[in-house]
C-alpha cells in the first residue's frame, strides 16, 4: 500500500499517535495530583511546576548534554515546589487553592526569568522506542513511536493503583486524606504526610514538564504549557482519584488535543482554533457531567477543600 494513499485513515491514526504523545505530561501531572489530593490537599500550582520543570530539564540537558540528567533536575525542582506548597499550607488560615494560584504565577515567572538564555540552543531529546517498525507506512511508524516516559507512566499508574489499596503507605495516605482527626488518633501527623504527598506530586509534575521540553514538542518556549497542569487537576476529579482512571482520562485528553493537528494534516483548516480548544471544552463538559449539587463526589477524600 502506498503510504500517501491512506487518506482519511490518517485522522484516527494521527489521533492515536497524538493521544500517546500528548497524554504523557497529563499522566505524570495527574498521578502526582492524585497522590496530593488523596492526602487531602489540592495543589493548583502544578501548572507552574510543569513550566519550571520544562525549563529546568531543557537547561540542564543543554548544559550537560544528557536528557536524563535534565529529567532528574526537573523532578528535583518539582519536588522543591511541592515541598514548599506542602510546608506553607500547614499554617492555619493559609488557603491551599490560593497558594496554588500564586505558585502557578511564581513558577512560570521564575521559569521565564531563568529560561531566557535557553530559547535558542538545542537540547538532546529523550529516546523513543519505534514500535511501528513492522509497518512501512510512515504515519503508522510515527504514531507508534512511543517515548519511554509514556511506558513508565503507564506502569506507574498501575503500581500506584495497587499501592493505594495494598500498602501501608497507601493506607496512611488515604486515612490522612479522609480525616485528619482519625489520622491523629492513629498517631499520624497529617501535616508531615501531606508535605511528603505534595512533594512527590510536585516531582511527578516536574517530570511531566521535562517530557514537554525534551520530547514533545521538544523545545523550550514560554508558551510550552497551555494549561496542561490545570487540566490535569480537573482530570483527577473526573478520574475519581483513581490512578488507572487518571491514565485513561489522560489518553482521552491527549486524543482531544491531537484532534486539531490531525485534521490539519489532512487539509481541514477551518475552525483550527476551535479544535485547538477541544481539550478545554472536553474538560469542562466532563466536569459539568460528573459534578452534582446534591450528592458529594464518590471516592472523594473527605479533607479535600474542593469537595467541601
Amino acid at each position: 500500500m502506498d503510504a500517501t494513499e491512506i487518506g482519511l485513515w490518517g485522522v484516527p491514526l494521527a489521533i492515536l499517535g497524538g493521544a500517546i504523545r500528548v497524554s504523557t505530561p497529563f499522566i505524570f501531572v495527574s498521578l502526582g495530583e492524585a497522590i496530593t489530593e488523596r492526602s487531602g490537599r489540592i495543589n493548583l500550582g502544578l501548572e507552574g511546576t510543569l513550566i519550571f520543570g520544562a525549563m529546568t530539564a531543557y537547561a540542564v540537558a543543554v548544559m550537560t548534554n544528557s536528557p536524563w540528567l535534565g529529567l532528574l533536575a526537573a523532578a528535583a525542582a518539582g519536588l522543591c515546589f511541592g515541598l514548599f506548597h506542602g510546608w506553607i499550607c500547614k499554617f492555619p488560615k493559609v488557603n491551599d487553592i490560593a497558594i496554588g494560584i500564586a505558585l502557578m504565577l511564581f513558577g512560570s515567572g521564575l521559569a521565564f526569568f531563568f529560561g531566557k538564555p535557553f530559547i535558542k540552543p538545542k537540547a538532546p531529546n529523550l529516546p523513543a522506542i519505534p514500535f511501528g517498525d513492522w509497518s512501512d507506512i510512515p504515519q503508522v511508524q510515527a504514531a507508534l513511536d512511543v517515548n519511554v516516559l509514556f511506558l513508565i507512566g503507564a506502569v506507574l499508574s498501575v503500581v500506584l493503583w495497587w499501592a493505594f489499596r495494598n500498602t501501608r503507605a497507601g493506607l496512611i495516605l488515604r486515612v490522612v486524606g479522609d480525616s485528619s482527626d482519625a489520622a491523629r488518633a492513629m498517631g499520624l501527623n497529617p501535616n508531615t504526610v501531606r508535605l511528603i504527598a505534595t512533594g512527590v506530586g510536585g516531582a511527578l509534575a516536574g517530570i511531566g514538564g521535562a517530557y514537554l521540553s525534551l520530547y514533545y514538542p521538544g523545545s523550550w518556549t514560554e508558551r510550552i504549557s497551555s494549561g496542561q497542569g490545570l487540566m490535569a487537576v480537573a482530570l483527577v476529579i473526573f478520574a475519581r482519584w483513581n490512578p488507572l482512571g487518571c491514565f485513561a482520562a489522560a489518553l482521552l485528553f491527549g486524543g482531544a488535543g491531537a484532534l486539531g493537528p490531525a485534521l490539519q494534516s489532512v487539509g481541514v483548516t477551518q475552525g483550527y482554533y476551535l479544535f485547538y480548544a477541544a481539550p478545554y471544552i472536553l474538560t469542562l463538559i466532563i466536569m459539568i457531567a460528573t459534578s452534582s449539587p446534591t450528592r458529594s463526589l464518590a471516592g472523594a477524600p473527605g479533607e479535600l477543600s474542593i469537595t467541601k
Binding site: I97, V233, L274
Partner: protein, 380 residues
C-alpha cells in the same frame, strides 16, 4: 463607654475595655493595613535576596523601578494607564470572593468583551459616536458578564468548581477570539497581526483632560467605588457576605443564593468585559491577540493584595501598574529578563497569602486582650 475620672481629676472617654476609645478604634483597624504592608515589604526584601543571588544590585533595581513606575509625571501617567484595566480585572476576582468563590479566569472575559465591543463598533459604523461607544460598552459588559456568570451558574446549579472552570473558559475564550479574529471578523488589511476592522477615530475613547491617561481609569475607579457601595451598603452585598460565610445559613434565611451567585459573578465578568472594551476603544483601536496581555492574571494578585476590598483595589492597582510599567526599563537598564517583575509579583503574592496566618495573632491589634488600666489603677 464610661466616663472615668483619673487621679489627676481629668475626664477621659474610655472604650468598652477601659482604653481611650480612639486608640481602640485605631488598633482594631490597623491590622488590615499593617499586615499587608509588612507582607509587601517582606516580599520585596526576599526579592532583593533573589536579585543579589543573580548578581545584580537590588538598590539599583528598586531605584529603576521607582523611576520607571512612579518617579516622574510621565511614568506616573504610564502607571495609571496600566492600572485602568487592572482595576476592572481585580473586581472580577474581588466580587465573587465575597461569596466565597475563587474566580481566576477574568482574562477570558476581557478578551471576549474586547471582541464583542469591536464587533459592535464595526456593525454600527456611521452612527453618532456617543451611541456607538455606549453600545460597545454594553456589548463588552454583556459578553464578559455572560462568560463569568456562566461560571457562577455552573458552580451553583451543577457544583462545578469555579476556579478550574473559569480558567478553562479563559483558554476557550482566547481560542474563540483567535477563531473570530482570523475568520469572520478579520480585517483583510491586517496581514501580520490579524485584527478586526479598526475603529473610526470618532469612536475611540480619548484621554482625560490635563493628562495622557485615557478615560478608562475614571471608569475603573467609579466601578470600584460602586462595588464597595454594593458590598458594604446594600442588602444584596449584605446577603452576599452571609452566603459567603455560610451557604446553608443563607438558604435557611430564605436568601436567593443562586441569583446572588449568578448576579455577582455576572457583574464581575461584566467589569472584566468592560476592561476589554476599553482596551479596544482607548488603546488598540481594534480587537486582536494583544487583548490577552495578562491583565486578568495580574488582577488576581491585585484583588488578593487588596484582600478583596474594592476601595483598597484602587491604590494596589496603581502600585502593580507601576511595577508592570517599570518592567521595560528594568530590562533595558539592568540587562535582566522581562519576567523579572513576574518573579517579584509571585513572591509578593506568596507572602501575602502566607500573612493570612497572622491575622488575630497580635495582641496589639486586639484591645479585648489588652490589660485594663482602670483595673490596674485600682479605680474599681
Amino acid at each position: 463607654m464610661a466616663e472615668i475620672v483619673t487621679e489627676a481629676g481629668m475626664s477621659v472617654t474610655f472604650g468598652a475595655k477601659g482604653h481611650p476609645a480612639a486608640l481602640e478604634w485605631i488598633a482594631r483597624r490597623a491590622e488590615a493595613f499593617v499586615i499587608p504592608l509588612a507582607a509587601v515589604v517582606v516580599g520585596m526584601a526576599l526579592f532583593s535576596l533573589f536579585i543579589l543571588a543573580v548578581g545584580k544590585s537590588p538598590v539599583q533595581l528598586y531605584e529603576t523601578m521607582w523611576r520607571g513606575g512612579f518617579g516622574s509625571w510621565f511614568s506616573v501617567q504610564n502607571s495609571l494607564s496600566r492600572a485602568a484595566p487592572l482595576l476592572l480585572a481585580a473586581l472580577c476576582v474581588a466580587l465573587p470572593a465575597r461569596l466565597g468563590l475563587v474566580v481566576i479566569g477574568g482574562e477570558g472575559a476581557i478578551v471576549l468583551g474586547g471582541v464583542a465591543a469591536a464587533a459592535a463598533g464595526t456593525a454600527l459604523d456611521g452612527a453618532p459616536s456617543f451611541i456607538v461607544i455606549l453600545v460597545m460598552g454594553v456589548a463588552g459588559m454583556a459578553a464578559g458578564g455572560i462568560w463569568i456568570g456562566a461560571v457562577g451558574a455552573l458552580r451553583h446549579y451543577r457544583a462545578v468548581n469555579e476556579t478550574i472552570s473559569s480558567l478553562l473558559m479563559a483558554y476557550i475564550a482566547i481560542a474563540l477570539m483567535n477563531q473570530l479574529v482570523e475568520g469572520p471578523l478579520r480585517d483583510p488589511a491586517s496581514l501580520n497581526k490579524p485584527s478586526t476592522q479598526p475603529l473610526a477615530d470618532i469612536y475611540r475613547i480619548g484621554n482625560m483632560p490635563g493628562m495622557e491617561v485615557h478615560w478608562g481609569l475614571a471608569v475603573g475607579v467609579v466601578a470600584c467605588v460602586l462595588s464597595w457601595v454594593l458590598i458594604e451598603k446594600t442588602r444584596w452585598g449584605f446577603a452576599a457576605r452571609i452566603a459567603g460565610g455560610n451557604v446553608r445559613a443563607a438558604q435557611v434565611q430564605g436568601l436567593a443564593v443562586g441569583s446572588l451567585i449568578v448576579g455577582f459573578t455576572g457583574l464581575a465578568g461584566g467589569f472584566s468585559g468592560l476592561a476589554g472594551m476599553l482596551e479596544v476603544a482607548a488603546v488598540q483601536g481594534s480587537a486582536n491577540a494583544s487583548l490577552a496581555a495578562g491583565y486578568g492574571y495580574t488582577g488576581i494578585l491585585v484583588a488578593f493584595l487588596a484582600r478583596h476590598n474594592p476601595l483598597a483595589i484602587i491604590p494596589v492597582a496603581f502600585l502593580l501598574g507601576g511595577i508592570d510599567a517599570s518592567g521595560g526599563l528594568i530590562q533595558r537598564r539592568m540587562d535582566l529578563p522581562d519576567a523579572t517583575v513576574l518573579v517579584l509579583q509571585g513572591m509578593i503574592f506568596i507572602v501575602i497569602l502566607f500573612s493570612e496566618t497572622f491575622y488575630g495573632r497580635f495582641k496589639a491589634f486586639n484591645p479585648d486582650l489588652w490589660e485594663r488600666p482602670d483595673l490596674l489603677r485600682g479605680t474599681a
